[in-house]
């Protein structure tokens, strides 16, 4: 009787130990799977940060139209302002914490890639802000590219469509 009871207790104990080992193994497999995504999560986080930065850049004082065009437009980039900014790029080289910032006018279309200077402004389509070795991926956002233009009798606001591109570095290089 006593031996039978001891045997039963031993049985239960072995079963509990086996179940515990089983669940520990399942947990280890799950954790291993979770941690294997860490590299991709780090890259995704960087991409999300870059996308947020694209949005913030377009609305930051250095890029934004603000009150210059009598309206508070979101994602409005002041073409006049960024031309001056691009000529002082060395002062802003580490300001935004990204590899590259580029603005490309999409419409009206201009053939080829014409870098904007004081001489060809506004008949150009690319403004480049950071001159460093470019690594990583680009994320982009559509923006309104606005400037003041001389009309028949008065100065008016002319807005075109452009794309703001930001490059971020991947955490791990392959």
């Amino acid at each position: 009787m006593v031996k039978q009871a001891q045997f039963k207790i031993q049985q239960t104990a072995f079963m509990l130990v086996a179940l515990t080992i089983f669940f520990v193994l399942v947990g280890l497999v799950f954790l291993g799977f979770q941690f294997s995504n860490t590299r991709e999560d780090a890259d995704q986080l960087k991409a999300d940060q870059a996308t947020l930065l694209v949005s913030k850049l377009a609305n930051s004082p250095e890029f934004s139209c603000e009150q210059a065009f009598n309206e508070n437009k979101e994602n409005c980039v002041d073409f006049d302002k960024i031309l001056v900014l691009s000529e002082n790029k060395e002062k802003y080289s580490n300001f935004w914490g990204v590899s590259d910032i580029k603005l490309r006018k999409i419409y009206p279309e201009i053939e080829g890639e014409v870098m904007c200077t004081k001489e060809n402004y506004p008949e150009c389509n690319v403004v480049h802000f950071i001159e460093e070795e470019i690594r990583g991926n680009y994320v982009s956002n559509f923006v309104s590219l606005c400037r003041k233009e001389m009309g028949e009798r008065e100065v008016y606001t002319k807005c075109e469509l452009a794309m703001l591109l930001v490059s971020y570095e991947e955490y791990y290089e392959e």
Partner: protein
Amino acid sequence: MKSKKKGQEEMVGFGIIMVIVAVIALVFLALYLSRSSSDIREDYATASFVEGVLSYTTECHEPGKAFIDVRELIYFCNSAQKACALGIDCELLNETLRGLLEASWDVGANAAVKGVEMSITSESKEIFYYVEGNATAEYRGYFTEFPRRGEFLKIAFKAYS
């Protein structure tokens, strides 16, 4: 003999419990893996495109008056009152929107964007409709509407991937 059989039955029972637990764990794992991440970034791209298009300054103006943007041109195209010289509001709107769409989206069977579709409607009629490429089951899009003189003008844009 009886105790041997009982022992075997208990082992089988234990094995069945293990299998059931493993199946349940696999089901949860499958559900966890199949959840799709939100596409907020990509919706933002289509939203910023539409807002950029609406702010685009067109070639439309009456002599001596300021150039109007796409948002205003949509209204004038829909109404009896015209803003452009020679009354070519709708033609100019069509031409401008087509140019913007073709320049902004690289559409193709091998491209990331398989097709685009844009429609602009008022409460009474369709003002503009554009489609290029193929419509697929997966798309990202943006919808907005704005009031003009008591009427709502609606814009829907989809980029198929």
